[in-house]
Amino acid sequence: MSTIKIKNLYKHFDGIKAVDHLNLSFESGKITGLIGPNGSGKSTLINLLTGVVPFDSGVVIISETTKLLRVKPYDMASFDITRTFQDVRLFEQMPVIDNILVVLTKRGIVGSLFEQHKKYHLEKAKEVLERVGLWEKRNELAADLSYGQRKLLEIARALAMNADIYFFDEPFAGLFPEIIKVVSSILKELRDKGKTVVLVEHNMELIRELSDYCIVMDSGELLAEGKPNDVLSQKAVIEAYLGE
């Protein structure tokens, strides 16, 4: 299974250091909680690592062998990396099932032009949609789903990628307790399969429950890292994150 490391990663926006020469490692078979106050650079870091935003300098190392000085978003799937977004980004005016099928079918223009989804694509789509309880909604437009269902669909889309490295950007935000249970079980399942799971989350109870390792960011810098209970009891973390 893949790991992902960053060395000296740097990004600034108009003079503000969003990610300031970070050195981090995300291990396989673990859920790494990535926490920090609003604006600390957590989502920016995920955007940098998935190519949604280009970084200014530094290196991203995948599975110890692949060193990337530039990350293109469309290359990340080939490195078995996938993600969800902080603000849900679905293909709104497409049916639920198409939101899944579109990530399952062939890449490449000619190949995809002469391909309609096949039985195994449908079976995989059914598997991930059933996992999040959305199979019955498969023919509805994504735009017509409730907020919680939209979050679940985004998670199902990430699952459909069958990646090695998953970035979940606040997947629990605004969810009802029963849906939180579903998402928690999915994350644990991925960890148990040896996947690398990075979880950005503000709910400390969930971080304690789910994370094997915890990284705290503040103002684009690494504030602390270690076992969740150890990290969350550190004075600097409490001051920066909890404002206490």
């Binding site: 190519g51 579109v102 032009l113 989804h117 889309r157």
Partner: protein
């Protein structure tokens, strides 16, 4: 009867144009205002190949298709650097440039006066000189293009186009280099528009740059929007609606002195009301 055949030919030609632009605007979300340029390239390529080089219509069509595809790839490559409104403005600019080339390259295009005496198509000794036979030819081509469009939008490729329309950045993260998909559909749409241009040139037997200016691009866009975005049938309905409505208004008994002006007003109002009460168009599946 001749009048009805004429209308059917015009509707068929504009249906092809609507179908071609619907792939780009309706399915991919690229609000292009340069479709008339590819329509014009197809018309001029056919006209020049037939009148200056004595080529058969069908060979001339192929040349037009190739030229349009190459132009679309070049224009699309430049436009791929722009998003949203800037893309639309850039595409607008390219239509102006192509029209200017057609006007100013006099030795080749005939300049503002255009190219006359463009022959009708002929195949295996049969010339489609009658309007009925010409209609059959255009109609068959329109049907073929309709099915090609259906094939494209039902394929995995078509699903990616829709995802690009919905959220280009998001679909990139799942392994799609969207630039190539946009270029491909831009070129495919241009090739189809080129076929419409070839039929138009051959049907009227005369073309001039004014027929392919930015107003024509706006009209083709209107066909797609009124018919309904992201629905191939919508492009055909849109073409029929926008061509038949002004014709139908000719039969309304407006006062003779202001009949033409009133027709224009009613036509405009009909379009405004349609957009107000049915923004997705007649049979559209997607709203801008």
């Amino acid at each position: 009867m001749e009048y009805l055949i004429h209308l059917a030919i015009v509707i068929s030609i504009y249906s092809i144009l609507g179908l071609s632009l619907n792939l780009i605007v309706g399915y991919t979300g690229l609000l292009s205002m340069t479709q008339a340029a590819f329509y014009g390239i197809g018309a001029y390529a056919t006209a020049i190949a037939m009148t200056s080089y004595g080529m058969n219509f069908f060979l001339a069509v192929v040349i037009g298709i190739l030229l349009s595809a190459l132009s679309a790839l070049a224009i699309g490559y430049v436009l791929s650097r722009f998003d949203g409104d800037y893309f639309t403005l850039g595409s607008f600019g390219f239509n102006v440039i192509i029209t200017a080339i057609l006007v100013n390259w006099r030795g080749f295009t005939g300049g503002a006066t255009g190219i006359p005496a463009i022959a009708r198509p002929s195949l295996f000794g049969f010339t489609f000189s009658g309007n009925l036979s010409f209609l059959v030819l255009v109609l068959v081509s329109a049907v073929i293009i309709y099915f090609i469009c259906q094939f494209i939008v039902r394929s995995s490729f078509g699903r990616v186009l829709k995802a690009i329309r919905e959220d280009e950045k998001a679909i990139q993260v799942f392994g799609y280099n969207t630039k190539y998909y946009k270029l491909a559909i831009f070129a495919i749409g241009a090739m189809m528009a080129s076929v419409a241009g070839a039929f138009y040139a051959s049907y009227l037997s005369y073309i001039s740059p004014a027929q392919f200016d930015i107003n024509e691009s706006a009209f083709i866009l209107s066909i797609v929007v009124f018919g309904g975005l992201a629905n191939n049938k919508g492009a055909i309905w849109g073409a029929a609606f926008l061509i038949l409505l002004p014709e139908a208004l000719q039969f309304v008994g407006f006062p003779s002195g202001i009949a033409e002006q009133l027709r224009q007003v009613v036509y405009g109002l009909a379009l405004v009301f349609l957009m107000l009460y049915r923004p997705q168009g007649l049979v559209g599946e997607y709203k801008i």
